[in-house]
């Protein structure tokens, strides 16, 4: 039956087994073009000299030092592993987190500790973590945290390959001593801290951001306020 058949009108119909000679060459062309494009984009280097993705040995990274907000003795602890350049983290920080701070942190139900978890595809994220750590030197981690997330589109990898000018303007805006901030930023004084925080995420098996660890439970997504509150209540009951 393979070869040719007739349709209802009696016309000869070429069936699938009679392959036009152009079929396999066309497949080869698609494969070669596709593979070439993939090889090109995979080998393409970032235009700017961006920090290399963090590769940290969790065993030797040293103690993590997150950024705490709220009562250190609160009954529930929330650990947030986030990337300053990640859009989902940005939405959480700008939309959900204000409610979390007001209703959960400030009321003493829980405290929250932020850990840097810069993802490799976000080339400016380590620099943002660096800026936030330098702001912490002057007691303004959280204002810088809020500023970075609120203006992601201005300094992200897609926007610029040199985010420092933006960070400098934020430093001035939140009232930092800009000279000290710049010295700290240029020296990458807190690189070890960022690496240790990243390693802490790896210890918690974080593979996407934001990831929350509430009590002993891990939540790998940008939680809504209600979800987070329910998780805090659940942890408090245990």
């Amino acid at each position: 039956m393979a070869g040719k058949s007739k349709d209802r009108r009696g016309n000869v119909v070429r069936n699938a087994s009679t392959r036009p000679k152009s079929f396999y060459p066309v497949l080869v062309v698609i494969a070669v073009v596709g593979a070439s494009i993939l090889a090109y984009v995979a080998s393409r280097k970032p235009e700017a000299a961006a920090p290399t993705p963090l590769k940290v040995d969790a065993a030797t990274a040293g103690p993590a030092q997150g950024y705490l907000i709220g009562n250190p003795n609160a009954p529930v602890t929330i650990l947030e592993f986030a990337d300053f350049e990640c859009p989902a983290c940005g939405r959480f920080a700008t939309i959900t987190e204000p409610d979390v701070r007001k209703r959960i942190i400030e009321t003493g139900l829980a405290n929250l500790t932020f850990y840097d978890f810069p993802l490799p595809q976000h080339l400016n994220s380590q620099s943002a973590s660096n800026a936030a750590a330098c702001a912490d030197d002057q007691g303004k981690f959280w204002p810088m945290h809020d500023q970075l997330f609120a203006s992601q589109d201005q300094w992200s990898t897609q926007a610029t390959d040199n985010p420092k000018p933006m960070f400098m303007s934020y430093a001035g805006r939140i009232g930092l001593d800009v000279g000290k901030f710049e010295s700290c930023y240029d020296a990458r004084t807190h690189q070890k801290r960022i690496e240790a925080n990243f390693a802490e995420g790896e210890r918690h098996k974080v593979n996407s951001t934001p990831t929350f660890v509430i009590g002993s439970q891990s939540y790998a997504n940008a939680m809504s306020y209600d979800e987070l509150k329910a998780a805090v209540d659940s942890a408090a009951r245990k």
Binding site: A16, P53, P87
Partner: protein, 147 residues
């Protein structure tokens, strides 16, 4: 060029589109080329992971299955197989439904569009249409044979 061959060619193209998104998700590709929409917003959203694996990874698996199936379907052994046509329709139909769901999520949940996801959705839709047309032809032929 038969409809099954067109399905095979589209599936091969789809493999590369999905592979590109998967390589980005794995961090091999630093930035997505995205002249329309916001690919990064979509691909770093909570919806970019399905049942513990990146959606792009599921896409690669789907396109590979479609490609293998379509290639098999044009071999002499299966050339007139209505069953093979049904299989192509079911698999591409599943892909079409899943892809429609992802497009819905992009538009109404994530509120961002990724051009590569749109290209993939178009490929799946065309594959489904050609698979359905192929099934129609096969059924007509088999009925002709039994008359």
């Amino acid at each position: 060029m038969t409809k099954r061959m067109i399905v095979a060619m589209l599936a091969l193209a789809g493999i590369f589109v999905a592979l590109y998104l998967l390589l980005y998700k794995m961090g091999v590709v630093g930035n997505l080329s995205c002249s329309i929409g916001s690919c990064e917003t979509v691909n770093t959203s909570r919806w970019a992971v399905f049942m513990g694996a990146p959606v792009a990874g599921w896409g690669v698996g789907f396109y590979v299955m479609m490609f293998v199936l379509a290639l098999a379907s044009i071999q002499d052994r299966y050339a007139d197989s209505v069953g093979m046509s049904r299989l192509l329709v079911w698999l591409s139909g599943f892909g079409f439904v899943f892809s429609s769901w992802l497009t819905y999520l992009e538009l109404f949940e994530i509120k961002a569009i990724c051009q590569w996801c749109v290209i993939s959705a178009i490929i799946v839709t065309i594959m489904f249409v050609f698979a359905a047309l192929d099934l129609r032809d096969r059924v007509a032929l088999s009925q002709e044979g039994t008359d």
